[in-house]
């Protein structure tokens, strides 16, 4: 099943690699390196899934998630972070984030998550 996936990651190597990872599965991908770029993509059209890095040059992944929810979008969100902590997981859950995953993730699980249902559901194959 192909989805519209927003990737927000400031490390260009990871950003390109994630696109290379997900593209063969037939998804439509848009990639952003900053909160501002992510906002521009969100203004252009709603994604079904978003994979969001936490530390961004002009803000945090939480800003991106708030933008998604503020627009009333039901997109499923995974946060990928190099700085995992319990407070962060709680805050992310409160924003309706599917999964908060520490880097390095199991990339095959990320692929399965991205292929999972676009709304609601129990997070098929979602890494935790």
């Amino acid at each position: 099943m192909n989805h519209q996936i927003l990737i927000v990651e400031d490390d260009p190597l990871l950003r390109r690699g994630m696109c290379a990872l997900l593209r063969p599965h037939g998804h439509a991908l848009v990639a952003a390196g900053t909160v501002a770029e992510a906002r521009a993509h969100l203004a252009a059209g709603p994604p079904s899934h978003a994979i969001v890095d936490l530390n961004l040059p002009d803000g945090t992944g939480a800003d991106v998630v708030r933008e998604i929810r503020g627009r009333g979008l039901p997109a499923r969100v995974m946060i990928l972070t190099g700085s995992p902590d319990a407070d962060l997981v709680a805050a992310a859950r409160a924003l309706g984030v599917d999964a908060v995953v520490a880097k390095p993730p199991d990339w095959n699980a990320v692929v399965r998550w991205a292929a999972g249902p676009a709304d609601g559901g129990g997070g098929n194959g979602a890494p935790t």
């Binding site: 990872l21 530390n55 972070t81 700085s83």
Partner: protein, 388 residues
């Protein structure tokens, strides 16, 4: 002469006690301490005043026993002493002192008060013992508070350091596993395989550089100097190499090198390259966007060679300057703060340690008008033991 109680004596003689304390503190002051006792007078004066106020107040036996165990006994004067002591302890971290130096400072303060008081007394009084006991209790309370706030501040810095370390290793690890996952899905003849493997190597290199910095940090914080392998070297050639690498790593970076006089000498080439690379990287990161970084190698003096790395842009905040070379202290090394990518914030610390291992020194000057200049001065010929 009327008999003056110790608390009143302290209040009336703060200036002379501080002068005595400063002289004594200098004699026990650790070599190489970042701060000078003279800069610490204000805070010591506030402790003295708070101790005197605290001694002037009636206390129960229980309060006094609590106090000497570092638990303030309550009351406005005791709170004032606690507050002053906590500010003192946190301030000492900010001044770059170690905990040993702060304790030495308290020893000096206690000794100065008691010596001056004894010297001023015409005749003994039966309340002297009680006064001295109260004074020691107040100093102990202050020391316990100061140590608590000192270690608390340091613990917070260590937590931050570990968080940054974790963050900076997780990034390249994610790149490695991602490249490997992508490669695993490709056939052996896939044209993108070499690039994916190159990314694995580059990310592993970033982690290796972090581990090397950590190893240097661990070695030097245990009191050792960085080991050196001095040999004939050319600082001008090394700085040109560093500039070339910096330009290659950051397209558009403007890094210029000028050499004056003789730039040859005897140094550990790996370490001086590390110093130059750290300073140039720092200047590119914190200098004005798109601005030039100028490296000047000055070999016009016979006995030493100086390397100055200059960038224009916002000056380093004044409160950051005293501890800019210290690890685990800087507030600006937050995970979210803008840092040099792939750097854990040990670059300036390692630059200082490498300069000192050569028997040299490092200094920084930073103003809005002149920009920021780091100057490393090395003896022209460093000995193997790091001394000349």
């Amino acid at each position: 002469m009327t008999h003056m109680r110790l608390g009143a004596f302290i209040s009336a003689n703060v200036e002379s006690i501080l002068a005595e304390w400063e002289a004594f503190a200098r004699s026990v002051w650790p070599k190489g301490a970042a701060a000078d006792p003279e800069e610490l007078r204000d805070s010591a004066a506030e402790i003295l005043q708070a101790v005197a106020a605290d001694m002037g107040r009636a206390q129960t036996g229980h309060e006094r026993s609590e106090k000497s165990m570092g638990r303030g006994a309550g009351g406005a004067d005791s709170d004032r002493l606690d507050d002053a002591s906590e500010i003192h302890g946190a301030g000492r971290v900010g001044s770059g002192l170690t905990i040993r130096e702060m304790v030495a400072e308290y020893r000096a303060l206690r000794a100065s008060v008691l010596r001056l008081w004894r010297a001023s007394r015409p005749a003994p009084d039966d309340r002297d013992l009680e006064d001295v006991t109260r004074f020691n209790e107040a100093i102990d309370q202050s020391l316990a508070r100061a140590v608590g706030s000192f270690t608390g501040r340091l613990d917070a810095s260590r937590q931050m350091f570990l968080a940054i370390l974790g963050h900076d290793i997780r990034g390249p690890l994610a790149a490695i596993t991602l490249s490997a996952t992508l490669a695993a899905g490709r056939g052996p003849a896939d044209p993108e395989l070499p690039e994916l493997m190159g990314q694995v190597t580059a990310s592993a290199g970033a982690i290796s550089a972090l581990v090397a910095d950590l190893t240097d940090f661990a070695a030097t914080t245990m009191g050792a100097r960085l080991p050196l392998v001095p040999a004939a070297a050319d600082l001008g050639a090394i700085c040109r190499d560093v500039a070339r690498e910096a330009r290659a790593a950051r397209p558009g970076a403007d890094v210029r090198v000028a050499v004056r006089g003789w730039s040859t000498g005897t140094w550990d080439a790996h370490r001086v390259r590390q110093v130059a690379a750290n300073l140039v990287g720092n200047a590119l990161q914190h200098g004005a966007a798109g601005g030039a970084v100028t490296v000047t190698v000055d070999g016009t003096a016979p006995g030493e060679v100086a390397v100055r790395v200059h960038n224009a842009g916002d000056p380093i905040p004044r409160d950051v300057l005293p501890t800019i070379f210290d690890p685990l202290v800087r507030g600006r090394t937050a995970v979210h703060a803008r840092r040099t990518p792939g750097s854990i914030g040990l670059g300036l610390y390692i630059a200082r340690e490498a300069a000192q291992a050569h028997g040299g020194r490092i200094a920084v000057a930073s103003t809005a008008a002149a920009g920021t200049t780091f100057t490393v001065t090395l003896p022209r010929h460093a000995g193997a033991a790091g001394r000349v």
